[in-house]
Symmetry: C2
Subunit: 188 residues, 2 copies
């Protein structure tokens, strides 16, 4: 089926970005991880590495977005736990060796177009998470502000968890976030 090899490469790129960042996500490592053939790199990605990374950033963004959409209908504090749980799962599954691919691209890619793409992903997360909070009964402006804080603090906590090889940062942050959200949410 057409499109299988490139898809596998993009998925591997997401994994490698989350683990080692932009420069360390090389064609060699992507091929090794995905099992894709070396000869067709520039057939599938004529613009080279930047094109592959751009696709990987989009995939990482879409995955989180799809996950966020599954929060619809949850009470506000459970939305917080679900989002934190996404990062907890990434950390545990990787034994604290992986984090957020979009964050990694933001801080280690020098290509402006990729950073812009990362910004668009963060914005899309903000909007959808804000919607989920709004549907949980939080007023619109507060919901958008809270969504931003939830994303920023979970991203930061995930980095601290990786460094310290512990879930404590994410757990502590999530507890504070629940308090923040509960203060704006209607009583359940």
């Amino acid at each position: 089926m057409t499109g299988e090899a490139p898809e596998a490469m993009i998925a591997s790129a997401v994994k490698l970005l989350a683990k080692h960042g932009f420069q360390a996500t090389t064609f060699s490592s992507v091929l090794k991880d995905s099992g894709a053939p070396r000869g067709s790199i520039y057939y599938h990605f004529p613009e080279g590495k930047d094109q592959l990374i751009a696709a990987a950033v989009d995939l990482a963004g879409d995955r989180a977005l799809a996950f966020t959409d599954s929060f619809r209908g949850l009470p506000a504090t459970e939305v917080v736990d679900a989002f934190a749980g996404l990062w907890r799962a990434v950390l545990v599954r990787s034994e604290f060796s992986a984090g957020c691919a979009v964050l990694a691209v933001t801080v280690s890619a020098d290509v402006p177009g990729l950073v812009d793409r990362a910004a668009a992903i963060f914005m899309s997360w903000r909007e959808r998470l804000g919607q989920a909070l709004e549907e949980a009964g939080i007023e619109a402006a507060s919901a958008r502000a809270l969504a931003l804080t939830i994303i920023a603090s979970c991203e930061g906590a995930t980095v601290l968890c990786r460094a310290e090889r512990s879930l404590e940062p994410l757990d502590v942050v999530a507890a504070h976030l629940r308090g923040l959200v509960a203060a704006s949410a209607p009583p359940s």
Copy 2:
């Protein structure tokens, strides 16, 4: 004076880590930025690049630590603003092209020793910021938990600010953090 060239290289490494991450912080770029002579790299850093980066991580950590110590005596909400202000200054001065060197090493260095070093830095920040909050009247356990959340969310917000080229994430997060801290602090 002995030690000037290596110091300049370490300072440049901090800057380059904050801007481009671990792999992109090469000897070439460090020499170019610092003006240090190429011939003495391995005289000053016999263990090579990892030794330089380790020194840079320590310097970045110590700088933030010294800054955090200047918070002693401030009311709790002002401690939040001061810490957020540190990152705001980094973003503005670099026109949104730099962030935290310690975070960059955590997510883009594959050398375990360097990640451990980054973890130690984060821990030292947690302790000192916790002390500052405790001196502002917050109960010990709460102060330590709040310090962790402040660090994690400012780190994450700084990444979002870089991506979006805007201070909004940091401003929104700081406002939420002030609320969180005020709820635990004695009335001023």
